[in-house]
Symmetry: none
Amino acid sequence: MDAPRPAPLPVFDKLAPLKQGRVLEESLAEFAEHGYHQASVNRIVARLGIAKGSLFQYFGNKEGLFRHLFARALEEIKAPLKAIRDADAGEPFPLRLRRVFVEGAAFARAHPRIWRIYRRMAAQEDFPLREALLSQLRGEALTYFRELVEGGQARGEIRADLDPRTAAFLIEAALDRALSAQDSPLLDAGHGLSSADQPLRAARLAALADTLSRGFCPPALQNADTTQAGDSHA
Amino acid sequence: MDAPRPAPLPVFDKLAPLKQGRVLEESLAEFAEHGYHQASVNRIVARLGIAKGSLFQYFGNKEGLFRHLFARALEEIKAPLKAIRDADAGEPFPLRLRRVFVEGAAFARAHPRIWRIYRRMAAQEDFPLREALLSQLRGEALTYFRELVEGGQARGEIRADLDPRTAAFLIEAALDRALSAQDSPLLDAGHGLSSADQPLRAARLAALADTLSRGFCPPALQNADTTQAGDSHA
Amino acid sequence: MDAPRPAPLPVFDKLAPLKQGRVLEESLAEFAEHGYHQASVNRIVARLGIAKGSLFQYFGNKEGLFRHLFARALEEIKAPLKAIRDADAGEPFPLRLRRVFVEGAAFARAHPRIWRIYRRMAAQEDFPLREALLSQLRGEALTYFRELVEGGQARGEIRADLDPRTAAFLIEAALDRALSAQDSPLLDAGHGLSSADQPLRAARLAALADTLSRGFCPPALQNADTTQAGDSHA
Amino acid sequence: MDAPRPAPLPVFDKLAPLKQGRVLEESLAEFAEHGYHQASVNRIVARLGIAKGSLFQYFGNKEGLFRHLFARALEEIKAPLKAIRDADAGEPFPLRLRRVFVEGAAFARAHPRIWRIYRRMAAQEDFPLREALLSQLRGEALTYFRELVEGGQARGEIRADLDPRTAAFLIEAALDRALSAQDSPLLDAGHGLSSADQPLRAARLAALADTLSRGFCPPALQNADTTQAGDSHA
DNA sequence: CATGAATGAGTATTCATTCAT
DNA sequence: CATGAATGAATACTCATTCAT
């Protein structure tokens, strides 16, 4: 379960990139729809129309498939995430936080299957890679949020006595829930994040970010409202 | 044989309460450890040292066991949760929010298996009862938080232009993550909530609540700090 | 399977006759509906609202129940069957054969559950008692039919060169199928025996008997038609 | 996974014909010996010495196996049955009826397991395919018999006032019982059809056919005995 | 290197039978 | 003597994994 197999998978890499793509696509879909244990190798090869043995030749076993899959997915994700991260270095904190929510939501919408797998992994103890990936991903996110906060403090936009880790924790919690609510009306519970109405969603995301921001700002800045509108919504 | 089996399970109720307790304990543990699908009836009866048939005589089938389990758990939970809810009606909002976090955390610590099952249900699409329970539980929580906020607004402790739903959403997100972080260092990521140090945990919880509160308060009240200490921690 | 247990069942006999009756009724129904193996002791006790252990105390086991059941059923049946047998000793053969069909059909209609069990027993190799009961019942029937035929021969109503066993075989085959067709449209296949129209059924039964009779009669009697009408039917 | 699985079973068809044969043989035997519900997939794979999963890979499930089995059996049967049907179109009715009995009996002897399964299906209400197959098979048989009779009527060999359906019903009943009697002394009850003595069996079959024929013929033909011998037997 | 038939330990579930109360 | 909880071998069925072709 936590055995070796960091194998470089020479077999799969030699495949036609087109086929590689299809394999990864369908596998990703299966894991997103059913989670790790409930995902069925039989179903994957059926979707793909390839031999069952091939998948095992490519990846050794189910876990190998998942590891490879997720590793590849992470690579594809890194660039856009880094882009979000670096794009707005100079702007004031509340705007940056808004952007984090809005772009984070856009990202989750753009990669719904990866997002779903990530959510399942976070809640399910027996996912392979859970430990490694969770600590890495979350670590990066928290570090980023902390730096965001610390930057704000350096510029006096955030009160100095706020522990950046506390702020980062809240940001991450709110963002995670907001993104989850997006594709599950049950989790959204009427808040509007799972609505099909894009402007409404944007407004709700902004409201969340702004309300958090307010909690972080020094009293002096409280009136200087960075948010033009209030956040009442239909 | 072809009924939907909402039956009142007369068999199990007649068992010696001691045995009932053991059965519920071990089953709860199995579901908490493995989730619904991965939980094994075989393993449960092995843990219990009883015959396979017995469990089916008690609950009809796996889903019946789970439903019974969860129904019982909910009943046991209701009272303490209501107690938290009603205890502090007269106090100022920030104190009430703190209490929500502290008591919520105490509750999750006291019922770690129920909490785990709940988290799995929220993330896993194919849990039985998921829809019903999630909408009920979350609905109640959000309603409570909203009323908390609206009460604060009525007393001028919270700015009037804050949408109570936004506030409730943030509270719920933060609380949920805080409670999850408690029993999983991975989710905690060094924040201190999964630490064995109870005062530290309490301080961290308070810090989360206070930082949220601050975001909700009107500017006038920002200085009247309800939290004596800052929230820096080792 | 062919073990002892001819036991006199002292326990069951001491029960209140009313309860005895219910037990036999419901058991008979279960075996008629599901056959021997598919019949469920669980279901029987559920129908009866008695303890599972009781049934085993009464009859030892499932097979014991069935044996007792069937024995009792046979006893109840004997009298009416004998009545049919003896009622018409003086009449001409064709009339007697008609009566056999009509009264046989009436009997099967009056005791549908016993008839069904009998049919299942005849086709299913692993019914308990199959051997004993089948050879007894069929033996009696064939003997009766043979005597019927021999009586007819003695009176010159049936040609002398007809082997009575052949005739008896045909009668039994036709009767058995006619009775079976009565409660199964599939077996009837549009012939009218499973119809709700009683006169039609009677006509069809008579037609069957008469056509057989004709095959048995000596040429001289062929014109003296005992059947007023032909047998065309809607 | 949720389809009704009318699937063409690509797996089994690719097996070595020798193995295919063994699988079908043993399965057929199991169903013939025990009927549908009492037949055990475990037992079948044990007989075959193959893994349990294999059978399910071939046929999907127990019912799929049975359906395939029966479909194959029907195909193998069709040709010889049609041969019987068409062989003797020009001959007089009594000879044709004899041939039906003799060849029918030969057929049942050649395919005893199929015959047994058929009998069980007819008596057991909950066989898969029962309705479809019974109505089809019996329909075809009755139609054939009716045409046989109508042909006889057209040529004046059978009296015009005989309802062909009545005649067909009797033929089918007698034939069915005769075939059943062949492999069960119990059903035969000393008539000679289950005897090992082939000429005796043939004589008894002929006697049954002839006696029926006689019942169908017009008076004028009664003396013109198509059967050289009477039908007395040892 | 692709194939896909073979595997068998695993799953949930049933049910006649026993026996302590 | 009635009770009904306990039993466990039986059932049909699944699925990741292997390996001969």
